[in-house]
Structure formats: C-alpha cells, structure tokens
Symmetry: C2
C-alpha cells in the first residue's frame, strides 16, 4: 500500500447531476402497487406525498435531473469517498482487491440523508410546511430531521417507544436539528390514544408508528408523510451512490467482480448496485455478481415468498409484489434495526426474480466479528447493518486466498456505528447471540397474506 492512492475521490464538478432510473431498462415491467382496500393498481396517495415524488415513482425516464438546490446540499458531504481497503486485504492475506464506498461521512451518518434532502425539497416546492415519519432505531428519523432543517420545514417523528427510551442519542440528534420526536404510541393521534387506552405500557412497534405518522399527515393540509426506503423513488435518490462509485472504480482502474451490500428495505444497496446492474441488463457485464445480504433472523429474500403483501404491519400501506415473510411477522431483536423488515423493495425483488441479483443470509455474531476486524484494519467502526455486507465480502476475499483468484470486491458501507456501540459491547463481552430462523413464526405470518385477485398482464 506504500505510497499508493487509498481514497478515490471525485470533485464536486464530477458529482452526478441526475439520478439513474432502472425502470427505463427493465426487460419486464415492474408489477404495479395495489390499493390496500380496493386491491386495484394505484399511485402514491396525493395528500401524503410530494408531487415531485409521485411523478418519480413510476416514471420510465432513464435519467431524472437532481434539482440544483438538492445538489447544493449534497455538496456538504458528497461525493463520498471510495476507499481501497489495503489494510484489510493485508490482514486477510488475500489477493482480492477490496473497495468500500463510505456513506458515513454524511452529517446524519448514513446514506439516508440522500433521499431525506430530496423529499424535503419536493415538499417545500409544493408549499407544504411539515413532514411526519416513523422511525425505529432512529437512523431514518434523524436523516429526515436534518433534511427538514435544511429547507426550514417542521418535522415530527414518531419513534417506537422502546427505542425512544433505549436510544436517547438518536432522539437528541433529531431535536438538535430542530425536529419534534415523540414516543409511539403517543396521545397525539387517535390510533395512539386507542392503543394507550388498551395498554398504557405498550412498547410500540414500527407498524404503530407508521399508522400514527400517516394519520397525522392525513389530518393536516400543511403536512406530508415521508418514507425512508422500499419505494421506487427512494431507491432512485440513492442511485447517486452507485453512479459515483462507478466513476471512482473507473478512476481506480477496476470493474467489480462482486458488489455486496446489506438489504433491509433495500434503498442503500439498490442505490449502489442499480447503476452497475445496468451493465448486466444490457449484456455488457454478464458475470458481475451482485449479492444482497440479509440477516438469518429476517431473511425476506432467501426464505420469503414472492407474492402480494402489505408494505406495513397494519395493512394501511399499498400492497406490493415482493419477497415477504408476511406483514405480521415480527423479526427477532437483532441490533441491525434497519434490516428488520418483513418485505423488500419491489425493484430488488423483481431483479432477483429475473436472476440479475442474488441473496445470502448471515447470522448476527459473524457480522460483528467481521465489523471488528474491519474496524481494527480500516479504522471506521461500521453500523451493524453494513457489517452484514462486510461479512460476505471477507468470506469472498478468504475464498480468493484459497483459490488464488484476485477478484475485485466492492462493499456498500452505508454508515458508521457511533450510535450502535452497545451492540459492539455485547459482542466483545461474548453476550451477543444468534437467532435461529424463526420458521414457525414466518409460517404463521404467511397465513395472513392479503387475498389479491389482480392478475398481471
């Protein structure tokens, strides 16, 4: 590594000025989303979403211009660095070449800010004053809080009650950026009051928080509802990651053999791989491997069904064709909170179904072992979510050591773990546990799928 370039950087002038829309290049169109009540094809509901977002959701324009106001804010931390993991390669004694694209330099600490800024911009443009959203561990809530701060919007975050009290730092971060954050269930909504009346000690859930955020936004003309992953437009906003990475890999003189990332809702990794999958869709790079990594505790793609299911736990959100463990499935309490989703972004599911991407599930303890090895070699302490990607990358690099192959591996390092150190403590003190795949619970949840008569053309 002596004297060689470690970071491959881009200037602001080299930053992509459009998002890449894979819908323009799919060999078979994406299934529609269905209205949760009528179960007929529908759009994102106008009273909840900015017009700019609704326009993007099903657009088939290949490139969608990034508004200059959004680009100007991206420039506070973008382009993000692509880093050659020379020190990790050496620690693994592998001939593989490992690169990681690091989104943790964003002030919110992850890729989430890419879409938060865009959504806040489009809301502001519509003359809206306020956003609501839900958050589990707080990653998304804090990103949206900052996005709203940049555009002078109010922001109210319904945070799952148990996390609200367990993770006060994420809540304080939101408040520092000017947002209001309340534990959910809250007395601020009808559904919150109803649940509190039944059980004043309810720990809350993401499903409840979503319902509260949607109810709040429905009731006020000045308010939109924001979602941080899964839907097409959110994945679109994240494609700035992969477009930058592609330019950077070109500068480094390599094209990846393997791209690896973690998937929860799917937006970070799709943002990374979509600009590369284009090269598979058009036949230029048929051998490129794109590996979606999920936790064995919540293995939507590797163990779920590809079918119609509600996007949310309560059945208020549209019905999506996706790999799902059943919308009522409650995943075990792994530390990678961002990966605890019963379904998966429809775009990822569609590409998986068509054979363009693959999936792997890894157990929790092994992901932290990988994260600690990464931290001691490269310095950065990754969030529990990208530790899943690092685990698979290390395994692939070790396979190269055996085979003598010098593959090029690109990791989507979605964020830092500064707010997840309690999880590292559990790992380091031997208290961290693995969860077996909850087969019975999934079976039960899959018995509650919605009945859908819609047939694709």
């Amino acid at each position: 590594m002596k004297g060689k370039e470690t970071k491959i950087i881009l200037t602001e002038k080299e930053m992509p000025t459009s998002w890449y829309n894979v819908l323009a290049d799919l060999p078979k169109p994406l299934p529609p989303i269905l209205h949760p009540a009528t179960k007929e094809p529908t759009i994102l509901p106008p009273p909840l979403f900015p017009s700019g977002i609704r326009d993007q959701e099903f657009s088939t324009e290949r490139y969608i211009e990034i508004p200059e106001e959004v680009l100007d804010i991206y420039k506070l931390w973008r382009p993000t660095p692509l880093i050659r993991a020379y020190r990790l390669e050496k620690a693994l004694d592998t001939p593989a070449k490992i690169f990681y694209k690091y989104e943790g330099v964003s002030p919110a600490g992850s890729h989430k800010l890419n879409t938060a800024v865009a959504q806040a911009y489009y809301a502001k443009k519509d003359g809206i004053k306020r956003f609501t959203t839900e958050t589990g561990a707080g990653q998304w809530g804090s990103a949206l809080s900052l996005g709203c701060a940049f555009f002078g919007l109010e922001c109210k975050v319904y945070m799952v009650k148990v996390s609200y009290y367990q993770k006060p730092y994420r809540r304080i971060l939101m408040e520092t950026w000017g947002a209001q954050c309340v534990p959910s269930p809250s007395p601020d909504t009808e559904i919150g009051r109803k649940i509190l009346a039944e059980d004043p000690n309810s720990p809350g859930s993401l499903g409840i928080a979503i319902s509260e955020a949607i109810e709040d936004a429905f009731k006020r003309d000045d308010t939109y509802y924001s979602i941080g992953s899964v839907i097409n437009s959110v994945l679109l906003h994240q494609t700035i990651i992969g477009q930058e990475a592609k330019k950077q890999m070109e500068k480094a003189g390599y094209y990846p053999d393997i791209i690896v990332g973690c998937i929860g809702g799917g937006s970070n990794f799709a943002g990374m791989f979509l600009p590369f999958v284009k090269d598979k869709l058009n036949g230029k790079k048929p051998n490129l491997r794109i590996i979606n990594v999920e936790p064995t505790a919540c293995p939507s793609v590797t163990k779920g069904l590809y079918t119609w299911d509600y996007g949310d736990v309560a059945g208020l959100a549209p019905i999506i064709k996706m790999y799902t463990l059943g919308h009522t499935f409650m995943p075990p309490g792994i530390h990678a909170g961002g990966l605890r989703y019963h379904g998966m972004a429809p775009i990822i599911c569609h590409l998986h179904r068509l054979g363009y991407v693959e999936a792997k599930a890894v157990p929790q303890v092994a992901t932290f072992q990988a994260g600690v090895q990464f931290a001691r070699a490269e310095g950065i302490v990754p969030a529990p979510e990208p530790n899943h990607a690092i685990r698979v990358a290390i395994d692939e690099a070790l396979a190269c050591r055996e085979s003598g192959e010098s593959k090029t591996i690109l990791i989507a390092l979605s964020g830092h773990g500064h707010f997840d150190l309690a999880a590292y403590d559990e790992y380091l003190t031997g208290k961290l546990q693995d969860y077996v795949y909850p087969e019975e619970k999934v079976k039960e949840a899959l018995a509650h799928l919605p009945k859908v008569d819609y047939v694709e053309a």
Copy 2:
C-alpha cells in the same frame, strides 16, 4: 451558493509530506522544560517516550518529514475537507465569508488521531510493544487505541473512573479497536491501590490517571507512555491540519482575516494556526488575527499567570513556562472536557506573550447555542470543544453584518459531537448552566506553584 463549490478538497498527492516546526521561526527561543524534581532544564524522559518523539520535541528543523507509513494511514481520511459555510453565512445574513476545516472525518472523530498514529509509529520503530495513556472523557484514549491498532501495539488506557461509567460508548470504542480500558484509580498500579485503600469510591481525576499510566510505563521495558496534547511534538504532528487548510484557502482564492479555534491543551488549534502564524512571524501578514478561544470556566490564557508550573496535577510531569491557573486547580464540570486543563501548550503561551496570537473566553451556554445554529445550517453536530470556536466565529460574522465588512473567517472544527449528545440534551431542555469564573479557587491554586530558581538567558 447555487452551483458554487462548497468543499475545497485536496488529492492525496497534494497532502503535505512534512510537519511544520514553528521552533525554527520563533523570534525568541521557547523556554526549556524543567525536571519536576531538580527544576533544571531537561528533556522528555527516554524510558517513557519514543526516540522519534524525543528528537522532535526540541528540534529546530523547519520541516520534519512525515514517515511514509504514517502518511499511508493518514490517507484513510486525509486530506480532510475545508468547507465554505454558505448556509451559515445565509442564516446569519452576514457579508463575512466563513470556512471550516473539519477533522471529524477521522475514524476516531477528531484531530487526535494525527498524533496518535505518529506516536504509535515511532514506538513500533523502537521495538516497543505497548503504550499506556490516561483519558478523561475518552477522546484521546480512543484515538491512541486506534493508532495502536494500526501498528499492532497493545494499548492500556486509564480512564477517569467517573467518566468510565458515565461515558461507556467511548470505552467500547477503545475496546472495539482492541485496547484495554480500566477505570482509574485501578488496582493495577501502586498509586491506584494506595488511593483505593484510602477511598474505595474515589471518582478519579486526570491527575491520578496520568500518574497510573506513567507508573505502568516506567515499570515495563516494553511500554511507552503517550500524551495527546500540550508538548511541542504533538503540536508538530497537528500542523498537517493547517498546512492543508492553507493550500485549500489558496485554492478557494482567499486568505483568512481571522482564524479561530478552541484551546484546551492547545494541539488542535496550534496545528491549524502555526502554518499561518509563520506569515505573521516573517511579516507577510501582519494583520492576520488568530483567536484562541477558551471556556470562561477554565480561562488559562485570559486569566492565568504566565509562569512556571507543573504540566500535571500530581507534579510528576515536567515544569513548563506557561499561562496557568495553578496545577492543583480543578475546573468546573463543563461538557467541553477537552478544554479542562489548568495550563496551555508552551508554544501557544510563548506566541501569545510575544503578541502574535490573542485569546478570548466564552461561557458554556452561548457555545451550545452556536453549535445548534451551526448544526441546523451545516448539518454537522460539532463537539462541545469546537463550539467555543464557532461561538466566536459567529460573533465576528455578526459584527461584519453591522460594519458591512466582508471578512474571511476560518474555523478549526476539531471533531464531531456524536458522543456528546447528552450535553446537547441539557442545552435543548434548558438545563445547561454557565459557571462563573472560579476566582477564589484559582487564587488558591496559584498559591501552590512550584518554586523555581532557574532564570532564562
């Protein structure tokens, strides 16, 4: 700000390859350090410090080459960005041009890693296997832990007991990087055992932790002791910050009118301003203002005496000519733990004495008000220490609004506040308090200065 460059970046090839040593350019030599027992001029004691560090401490070479192994590690996060605070300028409605140099992109979250990596390199070169150090809030301990991880050295950190239990995240960070961190006083040293025998519930102090770390290093042939600020060589290592900033300001097309930074031990801000003070020492930029900002609760330069005093609380460290509040002075518990030092780096004191730099003290609540305003405009949540610099920068920018002047202000933003959010919570909920200058306590401490007969030539 539309379309204009926000970040001024340097490539790895543009990164400085030498540290700048101001000792070569001082109009009057720096006073020596005195042995704590003999009170005669001395050097850094060989059994405690790497030979490379001892050589640098009093060198008068103007530029000291950065070893390639150190540069290779710096490249993991350096050069750090210089950012034009367009959004803060707009929020303040000021004609001033504000720039900040951001060291928070380092994996340890602050500038401290610049010297930690260098010290670990020189220790490894001497064939030493292990480092000890003390840490208060944990900023320095975590930086040294990572520095040691990079070079495969063991690291033992004595962390002030009250902080050890109050700030577990910093402790976990050290352990993630492979260091051992124990609450001080500990049963692992004679002085620790002695204090625990007298008071098993002793909350510890930085003075005790220093004594334990030094005792440990003295006793073992394979171990050095490391210090994270104050001494000349540590300031030297930090000059990479200012050298980069100078190149970046040049690229931006501006030379600062005012450079502002916080001072605790002084290494971060000296690292920033020393390459600029060179232009004052040689008469090229006589009007450049360099403002050292300290807390009103611990105002070493603005209220202290310029005299001989021990570097540490216990009187084990060398005696230094510096601005001091007395080595027995215990500063109030402000959140900017890194600024709670009774003295100041001798280089800064000397330059202040000679009139090349100035100093200001600011109260705690106003620094957090500035930090929150900064976070909402620029995204980054700063550590409590650099909030002191941001306070003064904002005041200067507001003065420009009054006067109509368009001054160029450069802020040393030494690190992020991800581990300091409890302090932000206190501020946001109105619980944060200011401390009046503890005049009586300083008076008492100043009565315990060492008696020194040494007279400078």
